[in-house]
């Protein structure tokens, strides 16, 4: 079996395991195609954690959890046919142009992702990938007793083996079903999961354009700009994350998943489908790497806060139960692996932080180390300020979330990584030199996604203000001819 075929088989199995839960939660949408393998990777992660907690082979847990998920979904659809995968589509603009934009957008993003994976033609296996990410799959396929020894034995030195298991568990599933236990297969499987996360985050921008199309004149303009921005963002993201996108590192996966979670959970119009997509992506980010875990905790709080909203804070109690229940479930999943690491006394389960070191010097070194990688902020910040001041009405009319949500997520991600660097006891200089280009991927990508969203919002506003017919959310003309209402476009509340 060739690596190409083995990788396709592995992603196919992961997608099969995640497809039904994603269809049930997100619905029949293009983004479900790219979310399914990521949901399957979550099933693999849960299987690895359950195998560590209760014993039993990883593959048995994987099959059992996938079967439970599929059975539950089928049962739900039998009992409540109204909750089937086609639910909720009636409220969206569903004209022919809208559908064509969906197909063209999806194919464009997939093509751009495939093009961006050409780095796989080099047989590179990254240093950390070989030492950790595509080494641990072998541990997950050993017996429970050996797995415990592998994670606990002090003479194995590596403390990073306590990192969350999603990447290694997915590679373990790939190894088991293909019989090929090679680092290369691990790398290619992780690269395709990266591509799925990247495509998902890019599809959010296309969704932004398609969503705005129903609310502005010249519907093709925001849809076209959404597709163009999404394709450009894919190529930008590939440049930001290479060589790690295709050499087996976990940083691109958590960063891209977190960007997608922000896009669906905090930037697009709030709704059950986008919230479900955000949940999958938050869990992927939080169970891939420690930095992703911290960021995911913040995203859980931010998405829940947005769902509760001002109405919930003003006493509308019915807005609380669902977001809180989702947040609690997310936290339970996110905390399971780290809790187990502490319970079994794994190497690296307890990090060493201190406030006794020279915090000022470490802070300066961290800021100076990160700054050269954050030049995107020179574009993103002024753009967001101008957009926020002048185009908030256009944004609200398009039902796009307040930009401050995305900036809050970016700030939290940046501060979380920065705080770890400052408060840790490891020598700061070598640490920053060897990791800063990877650990800043999330804030860099998030800033570019903010730029991409503003591109779509601005073109939609431009199309509306240059005249034509403004349509209501259901896609019907309401007033013609008219321009974008100025009182809604200028100085509106966010």
């Amino acid at each position: 079996m060739t690596i190409v075929f083995a990788t396709a088989a592995a992603i196919g199995v992961l997608a099969a395991a995640g497809a039904l839960p994603v269809l049930a939660a997100v619905g029949l949408r293009w983004v479900s195609v790219t979310l399914a393998p990521l949901a399957g990777a979550l099933v693999a992660m849960l299987a690895a954690t359950a195998s560590l907690t209760f014993g039993g082979p990883l593959m048995s847990w994987f099959v059992a959890l996938a079967a439970i998920g599929a059975t539950t979904v089928f049962g739900l659809w039998v009992v409540r046919p109204d909750l089937g995968p086609r639910r909720g589509s009636s409220g969206r603009a569903t004209g022919a142009l809208h559908r064509v934009a969906g197909i063209v957008g999806f194919l464009s993003v997939v093509t751009a992702c495939a093009w961006s994976l050409r780095g796989l033609r080099s047989p590179t296996v990254g240093f950390d990938a070989r030492a950790l990410w595509v080494m641990r799959p072998g541990w997950f396929l050993q017996s429970h007793a050996h797995l415990l020894v592998d994670l606990k034995a002090r003479n194995l030195v590596l403390t990073q083996t306590a990192y969350p298991p999603l990447v290694s568990a997915s590679a373990a599933v790939a190894w088991k079903i293909t019989g090929i236990h090679s680092a290369r297969l691990g790398v290619t499987t992780i690269a395709l999961l990266n591509a799925c996360a990247l495509a998902t985050a890019a599809l959010a921008v296309i969704e932004c354009g398609r969503g705005m199309a129903g609310r502005f004149s010249r519907a093709w303009v925001p849809m076209a700009s959404g597709i163009v921005a999404a394709v450009l963002l894919v190529v930008v993201a590939a440049g930001v994350t290479e060589p790690f996108l295709t050499n087996g590192y976990a940083d691109p996966l958590w960063s891209l998943a977190a960007v997608g979670a922000v896009a669906f959970g905090l930037q697009l119009a709030d709704g059950p489908s986008t919230r479900a997509a955000a949940v999958v992506l938050i869990l992927v980010a939080g169970t891939t790497k420690d930095e992703g875990f911290v960021t995911a905790l913040a995203l859980v709080a931010l998405v829940a806060a947005r769902s509760v909203g001002r109405a919930g804070l003003r006493g509308e109690r019915k807005r609380w139960p669902v977001p809180v229940a989702i947040a609690v479930t997310e936290l339970a999943v996110l905390l399971w692996w780290p809790t187990m690491m502490r319970v079994i006394g794994a190497r690296g389960a307890s990090s060493s932080f201190t406030t006794r070191t020279d915090l000022a010097r470490r802070t300066t070194a961290t800021v100076h180390g990160m700054s050269p990688y954050l030049h995107v902020l020179v574009v993103a910040v002024p753009l967001a300020v101008v957009g926020g001041l002048a185009l908030s009405g256009v944004r609200r009319r398009g039902r796009i979330g307040n930009d401050l949500w995305a900036w809050a997520a970016l700030a939290v991600g940046l501060c979380a990584v920065g705080a770890v660097l400052v408060a840790s006891t490891s020598p700061i200089g070598p640490w920053i030199l060897s990791t800063v280009h990877r650990i800043t991927e999330f804030p860099i990508l998030e800033a570019w996604w903010i730029v991409g969203f503003w591109a779509v919002v601005a073109t939609a506003g431009l199309a509306g203000s240059l005249g034509g017919t403004v349509v209501d959310p259901e896609g019907e003309p309401v007033e013609a001819p008219v321009e974008v209402p100025v009182e809604a476009a200028v100085g509106a509340r966010g």
Binding site: L232, E242, N247, L391, V486, V490
Partner: protein
């Protein structure tokens, strides 16, 4: 003109509409031009991964660790536990990278059937870029046996080119 509006109000709305149009155009142009510029840079970054030097280094790296893996398998029989010995942290990391995925690690080390170490030397036949895996076995009567890993070799002198961190 809408019912009830005044010429002044109408003019103000027109000015604001023009302003919004200009801002929309500026924001859209800035965002899209920035994205195009960064996409061109990103494309070059990906292309750099395919440079012949990068591909060659990656191939040598793969051959080195494959060689280490095969030599370790020649020293550890199925069912045997092993300890990764030696005082050199870099050697331990190299062994973890080479065969950490499958070797059954002994804990404590004293229970190991075989202690694996690396021996560095000049590039020679039977070595992986000059590195050879060494297995040390302790028999029941307390004697020690040392065996060298076999089954693979990579000519040349190491270490392999370091992949990006």
């Amino acid at each position: 003109m809408a019912v009830g509006s005044t010429p002044g109000t109408n003019r103000r709305q027109s000015v604001q509409t023009v302003l919004v149009t200009v801002v929309c155009a500026l924001v859209a142009a800035t965002a899209l031009v920035s994205l195009v510029g960064q996409a061109v840079r990103g494309n070059r970054t990906v292309d750099a991964q395919l440079a012949s030097r990068s591909v060659h280094d990656a191939s040598v790296d793969n051959e080195f660790y494959s060689c280490i893996d095969v030599q370790a398998r020649s020293l550890v029989a199925p069912g045997q536990s092993a300890a990764l010995g030696g005082d050199n942290l870099a050697d331990v990391i190299t062994m973890i990278k080479g065969f950490g995925a499958w070797v059954a690690v002994a804990d404590p080390v004293s229970r190991a059937d075989v202690v694996l170490t690396l021996r560095q030397g000049p590039g020679a036949p039977g070595t992986c870029l000059g590195t050879q895996v060494v297995g040390t076995y302790r028999t029941h009567d307390g004697r020690t046996t040392v065996r060298l890993g076999t089954g693979a070799q990579v000519t040349g002198h190491g270490p392999p080119p370091a992949p990006p961190l």
